[in-house]
Amino acid sequence: MAVILLIGLIGVAPPTHVRAYDTPDDGGGSIMVEWHLSQDDAILDGYEIYRSNDGDVYEKVGFIGRNRTRYEDSNTEDGENYFYKVVALKDTLKMYSQASQPVMSSPQWFDLPKLNILIACVIFGGLILYFVYHARKGKELYIRKIAGLQAIDDAVGRATEMGKPILYTTGTGLIGDIATIASLNILGEIAKKCARYDTQLINPHLDPIVYTVAREVVKESYTQVGRPDAFDPDSVYFITDLQFAYAAAVSGIMVREKPATNFLIGWFMAESLILAETGASTGAIQIAGTDRVPQLPFFITACDYTLIGEELYAASAYISKEPLLLGAIKGEDLGKLIIGAALIAGSIIGLLTKLPILNLFK
């Protein structure tokens, strides 16, 4: 009671050292306000933030709880001057701080905290391009064998011998998913094999854009191997854009058409297991591949071969044997080696710095 009475008589201390500055590394339209806590912070309701264009008339722009020293005003006009005051609030009592120096927001052209990512991209991108350049000069590159990709020829051959179709699904990803793009690259190579061996290809789709691209990819592949007449436009088709309706439809195709080989390569979610198990039950050879870690165990369990993560991206180069593409894989491998070395070095340094003996040197 006595405290309340005292507060009523002398008020509360205002926050001090109010500082406003343009929010760094943003697209503009935002100003950051900082202050030192009021001496009576412990009993406050919080802080109100006031803004003015001319330093005379202030309007409230926000409220933040006590023990906070920062507020982002994300509703400013770029190039306009603003003054800020921070108000310590206790019930109906308000104590205004001194006004901040005028400040204006502006957009930045570069997000500085992302500089490390840019440097890493340049280094690893440079490595990839270096090996592509070497491959262009005809240097022989060794690429380790990937079982799943080596089995592709056998899988296509099996379908040809059995006179049964090959089912290829790019999953439920959209064209913006890089796994879908990698899958389309592989589809192109498999379509060439199908065209050469005159094997029927079934390629159902969930996304209309992916369908349109896939159709062109398959058509061009047939043309590339000199079999444009063998391309069946109805072999690549759109089914639905609903995940489980798509899973039901593809499962139905597996059961009815009984393809000799199922390729489940691309971006998958929960439908991965439905498709892989249905395919396994029909006795088809199954080659799966995805970069979605949660779906990998399902594919590994239910499929004969699985392209794990990066193998999906290496597949098109591996199948086509084009030196330029193989050069990129070599660059990836060196990048991983550098990351691996950095992780080991970091772990060793981390362990060493925790050794009790180091306390002696402190």
């Binding site: 990512i117 990839i128 209309p208 062109e216 109805d234 759109f238 995940q243 399902f298 991206y313």
Partner: protein, 220 residues
């Protein structure tokens, strides 16, 4: 020209996609937004028409040639026409000129979606439980060292999250958690590092026109 133009477009859009990640300036973000949202939406609308055209063509062909189970194609085409008419003239929730209610029975697009599509999707999703059981049986058959290790770790993890695990040994839940947090996460991160490099390399190869499989091959 047939391949040159797509390659130029991919190069411009790809470089813009990289720049927008590092440059927060509205000029860059708005341009990217225009490509990513507005232009892609227009493309998607055209692609949807092509997609639906393909769907109908495949099923019409099936009916024409009386292929196996051709009768079901009629179901698809009839339902397609009915829902299209309801959607186009009745609106999503029945606000269009076409009446979508007879007494208390409503058949607007939203009702069809809520009462047909959603339960059917849920049914498919529920099937996962059975598929998971058969996949688990397949995975846990201890035929090799790896499969035996998988079986053992799965057994420990499953036991660790059950109240029974704590009764067997108070260390079991924390050991199960350690398996999930350390070896499991280490494996996942290893895969993710490889994926990140794969994405970087694939993106570079496509942007620079080295990878042209998406155009139907590497030829000129």
């Amino acid at each position: 020209m047939k391949k040159g133009l797509p390659l130029i477009l991919v190069f411009i859009c790809g470089i813009l996609g990289i720049i927008q990640y590092f440059a927060p300036h509205p000029v860059v973000q708005d341009t990217d937004n225009f490509f990513r949202n507005n232009l892609l939406k227009i493309l998607a609308a055209f692609a949807l028409v092509l997609g639906l055209g393909s769907l109908l063509k495949v099923h019409m062909d099936k009916i024409k040639r009386k292929r196996e189970n051709w009768q079901y194609s009629w179901v698809l085409i009839i339902v397609f026409i009915i829902t299209s008419i309801i959607g186009l003239f009745g609106g999503v929730t029945g606000e269009g000129p076409l009446p979508t209610r007879i007494g208390s029975f409503s058949f607007d697009n939203q009702t069809i979606y809520d009462n047909v599509i959603v339960p059917l999707g849920s049914t498919m999703f529920a099937l996962l439980a059975f598929f998971m059981a058969s996949a688990a049986y397949r995975a846990f058959r201890a035929r090799s060292t790896e499969a035996t290790l998988l079986l053992a770790s799965a057994f420990i993890v499953m036991l660790g999250v059950l109240p029974l695990g704590d009764r067997i040994s108070p260390h079991l839940p924390s050991f199960a958690q350690w398996i999930m947090d350390v070896p499991n996460v280490a494996g996942q991160r290893g895969i993710l590092i490889g994926v990140a490099f794969g994405i970087l390399a694939t993106a570079l190869k496509i942007i620079l026109g080295i990878e042209r499989s998406w155009l139907g091959g590497g030829g000129e």
